[in-house]
């Protein structure tokens, strides 16, 4: 036997052995450790639903859902990992199979002026249309629906579960709801019929058409305005700024309750001058009453060599926003900070004393400051 033949036979023997031999339990556990458990891939599955907002082109199907504008060839998948082209039809493959299902305080989104003290039934499917270096939920956002462990939960069951858990709203959150638009939209329609509010927690990276349709069924949104610099958006998030700004304007124009989150990351988004420009833009576009949350960054995912944001930087950002004319500015992820509370924009007095997710004292009467009677913007009662 020549060396080459010998090696070939050895290789073939090992492969046959690996393929056919039933492994003992302990070995199987070890093999899982080495090879992973494997992911199913059977094309369409029962959680596939024809996608909205598409147009056929010669090169494939052009998805009009988000500014990525993927043209997906037959058999291909969009950047969001959530849309597949099967024989010329685009499907969302995350319809009714969320990977994360939890109950959260509404303040965790964060929404401070929307039904405070209530809980939101929160769902997410896998996939996202951005790739943030600091993604908190990268295990959800940076994979496709077939790679996650999912729960079978069709829209009606989501609404039932929300009622059962005594939640005032359903939040489409954690990952990016734009990627499971069809599922979220159908669920929101059913929820509305049962008097349940809908909350959109998103990066705001969505096209105008789908957004305007969505505004018909969404009650509140918290949008991450990740920075006010297109270059930072590109490097940190793999996105662009303009579509997010458009989303803010449309939500406001369509009277969906809106709050904005700005994560202050040292060395990336902590430039006070940039924050000032951002706030100037918000004020100039009539968004000065929109609550703005500056939240503390914690090292996560790939951005793990940056220290947590110093509290002083958050306070500097807060001061810059207030000076620019923003009326409701909060500091988040810093437990016990006085800027967790809600202060009346007119008289400056504390009207909602908060400790975490708890309202400790209230000085508001029917959405008005108890001291100066100024109307405080927000959705304060479920009715």
């Amino acid at each position: 036997v020549r060396k080459r033949e010998f090696l070939q036979w050895c290789g073939a023997g090992v492969l046959c052995g690996l393929a056919g031999a039933p492994l003992p339990e302990r070995w199987r556990a070890n093999a899982n450790l080495l090879f992973g458990a494997g992911t199913p891939d059977d094309g369409l599955w029962r959680w596939s639903k024809e996608a909205l907002f598409v147009e056929n082109t010669g090169a494939g199907i052009h998805c009009l859902k988000c500014p990525n504008g993927c043209t997906i060839p037959d058999g291909g998948t969009g950047i969001c990992r959530n849309r597949v082209n099967v024989h010329g039809t685009l499907y969302s493959i995350a319809y009714g199979n969320p990977c994360a299902v939890h109950v959260d305080p509404i303040e965790k989104k964060p929404l401070m002026h929307f039904l405070p003290g209530t809980r939101a039934f929160s769902i997410a499917t896998a996939g996202c249309n951005l790739s943030c270096l600091n993604c908190q939920n990268w295990q959800i956002s940076q994979v496709g629906p077939k790679e996650t462990d999912n729960t079978d939960l069709m829209p009606k069951e989501v609404v039932d579960a929300c009622v059962k858990n005594e939640c005032a709203s359903i939040a489409y959150t954690y990952g990016e709801p734009t990627t499971f638009y069809e599922y979220a939209y159908d669920t929101a329609v059913l929820a509305r019929r049962r008097g349940i509010r809908n909350v959109w927690k998103s990066n705001g990276y969505i096209e105008e058409g789908p957004l305007r349709q969505l505004c018909g069924v969404i009650d509140a949104a918290n949008i991450d305005l990740k920075s006010f610099d297109d270059s930072i958006y590109g490097r940190l998030n793999a996105g662009t700024l303009a579509p997010v700004l458009r989303t803010l304007r449309i939500f406001h124009e369509m009277h969906v309750w809106l709050e904005i989150t700005n994560l202050v990351i040292p060395g990336w988004t902590d430039d006070v001058e940039m924050i000032r420009r951002m706030c100037d833009w918000l004020v100039a576009h009539g968004l000065d009453s929109v609550p703005l949350h500056f939240t503390r960054f914690l090292p996560l995912y790939k951005l793990n060599q940056v220290s947590p944001t110093p509290v002083k930087q958050l306070e500097d950002a807060h001061a810059a926003a207030v000076n620019a004319g923003m009326k409701y500015v909060y500091i988040g992820n810093v437990p016990g900070h006085p800027r967790e509370h809600t202060y009346c924009h007119q008289c400056g007095k504390m009207i909602l004393e908060r400790r975490g997710y708890t309202i400790v004292t209230t000085h508001m009467i029917k959405g008005h400051c108890a001291f100066c009677h100024a109307a405080i913007p927000g959705v304060w009662s479920p009715v």
Binding site: L33, L34, Q139, D149, P266, P308, P335, G336, G356
Partner: protein, 717 residues
């Protein structure tokens, strides 16, 4: 032969010394620059050995074009110039190629590390056949074995001098500059002695340029200011545990180890979760042992419990000094600071605690994994009073845990269950595992309230018990799967952590194994049976070294300082083996006995893992004996093969040298991160013995051996 004719020995000696010293230094730098885990360390070492082997292999084709008399000077010139330059580039590379503060993509890391190491490694590899030629022309009849022996001797000195003696005194950059200076001066002396004025002046000019470049770029300070823009650097120290930096920025003091923030001031939520989730379980006069973490903030929280007493244990003395300087613990008789290896402390202490809180880095290396093994957790169980509580944590998967994250947690959960009757996982800012033989409460906020502890975060306002319990219940269901248990000899948690880390880059963990398998197949098909035998010896030597390092790590804790010593021991054996092999009579039986001896050394070393706990000193001596005898066998086998290949003076033995290194490289890449965790140290040792049996068997069917003694006795070897 005059003194000038022996200059190849100086060059070989210095090449070995500088290569080993540089390897030890650059490995630490790679750990720091690329946030090293076991796979990163293995990849760097794999690249190093493969490139060196490739250098030797390719040099066969061009080495004859170099004038013989210039060879030693060229070697010394390169050895002088490249190490500090490589270090500089290695430090700047992640800063340039990765977005600020972020992990370098593993693909860029692998490509980059190969590119950065290539000049130095390819050239040092190529010098082997060059020096063999120089030695052969200086009338050494067994040139290859001689160069191998001198190089190994240089490695011994390099490992001992730079890995052990100078390590505490000088930072990496200065170590490499010192090496450069020595090589440069030797080169100058040689040039003057042999009256080679032109290369001599080039060397002198090179030394001046190098010094000027290092001075002008500000050395490591330049890289630091890029790494921490806007921060005031309070401290920058190279420690055996990695590079320690303390900075001040925006009124916040941050402590970084290998560029990753360990802890900062004002981390109310993180500190309170770490302390109160555990201590509130036994709130009456608790005696608490905290392993790692920031003692000033953690102890402050513990002292909120009446009658409490806290011991803060830290093994990194450099970190402890920095803590004391920049984040001092408020003077209090109830707080005790201890500096010791946690496992050694818990094995020997008579103290018993109500609570043990382990604040440790993720188990991504054997070094960090040793605190998460069944043996370590049993030690922690030992120091607890009956019903005491152990708290261990992993990064958060509060909203969702993917398959790899679940596997990681399931392994830790199942390992904890070996020592504790009750284990719960509470997903919060981190995933906290609370283990006890007694009851464990999951209504943390209520427990804190009941104990009357004033807190800023761990209370009903931020931590809602029903929601926490819902998440805990869901996680508990997901984790109820059979997994292997993480032990010292079977570090499965480490592999799970590596798999989880590779998910950041959407890479499959099997990719390095596939690359390695492809290369092995290629090399096996290209080389002859003698070379296959030598590859087996190279792999066995490296497996032995890795097993010994692993056992020493498990037994004694951090081994960075010891690695230089272990390499020195290994090189001593290899050098002695190569020298002995130059003259020893070659017989198949002796060859097989040497190969078998290497395998036996691996088997004995693997067996010592369980013995180290009982008799550490005797165990260390036996391990050193294994290392010496195993490397002696490898050195002798190399000398045998070199003599058998094609005559003593043929520089084409470089091909054999390359096979020896490639065998070691393959073992490096797949043993530490893969085979050891999957099969365990005992099975690995057994598999090594089988590999040696097969490799030796194949080798002995070579025509050289089949011609038997007539051939061997007819030719001088």
């Amino acid at each position: 032969m005059g003194p000038a004719g022996k200059s190849w020995k100086v060059a070989a000696l210095l090449m070995g010394g500088v290569a080993t010293g540089t390897q030890v230094v650059l490995l630490r730098e790679a750990l720091s620059a690329f946030l090293g885990n076991e796979l990163v360390i293995s990849t760097v070492l794999f690249s190093w050995l493969t490139l060196t082997g490739t250098g030797a292999w390719t040099a066969r084709y061009w080495s004859r074009r170099i004038p013989m008399r210039d060879i030693p000077l060229i070697v010394l010139g390169v050895v002088m110039f490249l190490p500090p330059v490589t270090l500089h580039v290695l430090r700047l590379f992640p800063l340039v190629c990765a977005p600020p503060g972020s992990l370098l993509d593993v693909r860029i890391f692998i490509g980059g590390s190969i590119l950065i190491l290539a000049p130095f490694c390819l050239l040092t590899g190529a010098f082997f056949p060059l020096l063999v030629r120089a030695a052969a022309e200086a009338d050494d009849v067994r040139a290859a074995a001689s160069v191998y022996a001198w190089e190994a001797l240089g490695s011994l000195m390099g490992g001992a001098l730079f890995g052990v003696l100078l390590f505490d005194i000088l930072p990496s950059q200065d170590v490499l500059l010192l090496l450069s200076g020595i090589a440069g001066l030797c080169g100058l002396a040689l040039a003057l002695y042999t009256k080679r004025w032109r290369p001599g002046s080039l060397l002198g000019a090179g030394m001046i340029i190098l010094a000027a470049v290092v001075y002008a770029t500000g050395g490591e300070r330049g890289a630091l200011s890029l790494r921490y823009p806007g921060h005031t650097i309070l401290e920058h120290t190279e420690t055996p545990y990695g590079v320690l930096d303390v900075t001040r920025f925006g009124g916040q003091t941050s402590v970084f180890l290998n560029n990753v923030p360990l802890f900062v001031t004002d981390d109310v939520a993180g500190v309170e979760e770490e302390v109160h989730f555990a201590v509130v379980q036994r709130p009456v006069s608790p005696r608490v042992l905290i392993v790692g973490g920031n003692p000033s903030s953690l102890s402050r929280e513990v002292l909120k419990y009446d009658g409490s007493d806290v011991v803060c244990l830290e093994e990194n003395s450099w970190l402890r000094s920095a803590e004391m300087k920049y984040l001092p613990v408020a003077p209090d008789a109830r707080v005790h600071l201890v500096q010791a290896d946690p496992r050694a402390y818990m094995r020997t202490t008579d103290q018993r605690y109500h609570i043990v809180i382990l604040v440790a880095p993720d188990p991504a290396t054997i070094q960090t994994n040793r605190l998460f093994t069944a043996e370590a957790l049993a030690c922690m169980h030992r120091v607890l009073v009956p019903g005491g509580v152990l708290s261990v944590s992993l990064p958060s998967s509060e909203e969702y845990a993917g398959a790899d994250a679940r596997q990681l947690r399931a392994i830790l959960l199942n390992t904890l269950k070996l020592s504790f009757a009750h284990v719960v996982l509470l997903p919060a800012g981190r995933d906290l595992f609370l283990a006890s033989d007694g009851e464990v409460r999951t209504d943390i906020a209520s427990a804190v309230h009941d104990a009357g502890i004033p807190t800023g975060y761990v209370n009903g306002d931020y931590v809602q018990d029903d929601l926490l319990q819902q998440r805990a219940q869901r996680m508990s269901t997901l984790l109820a799967v059979p997994t292997p248990v993480n032990t010292d000899g079977h570090p499965v948690l480490m592999l799970a952590q590596i798999r989880y880390w590779l998910r950041f880059f959407a890479l499959d963990a099997m990719l390095p194994v596939a690359v390695c398998a492809g290369l092995v197949a290629f090399v096996l098909l290209r080389c002859d049976r003698i070379a296959i035998g030598l590859m087996t010896a190279g792999s066995t030597g490296m497996i032995l070294e890795l097993i010994v390092i692993m056992i020493v790590q498990v037994a004694f804790g951090n081994v960075y300082k010891m690695i230089g010593g272990l390499v020195a021991i290994c090189m001593a054996g290899m050098s002695a083996g190569a020298i002995a092999g130059r003259r020893m009579r070659i017989t198949p039986r002796r060859y097989a006995a040497l190969q078998g001896g290497g395998a036996l050394a691996v088997l004995i070393a693997a067996h010592m893992l369980v013995r180290m706990g009982e008799t550490p000193v005797t165990g260390a001596v036996i391990l050193a004996g294994c290392l010496v005898s195993g490397s002696f066998a490898a050195g002798t086998v190399f000398a045998f093969c070199a003599r058998m290949r094609s005559g003593a003076q043929d520089p084409r033995v470089a091909g054999l040298y390359a096979c020896d290194l490639l065998g070691a490289a393959f073992a490096t890449l797949i043993v530490g991160p893969y085979l050891l965790p999957v099969f365990g140290v005992s099975s690995l040792a057994g598999a090594t013995a089988v590999m040696v049996l097969i490799g030796t068997g194949i080798s002995l069917t070579s025509p050289v051996w089949l011609r038997q003694r007539g051939y061997l006795e007819a030719e001088p070897m």
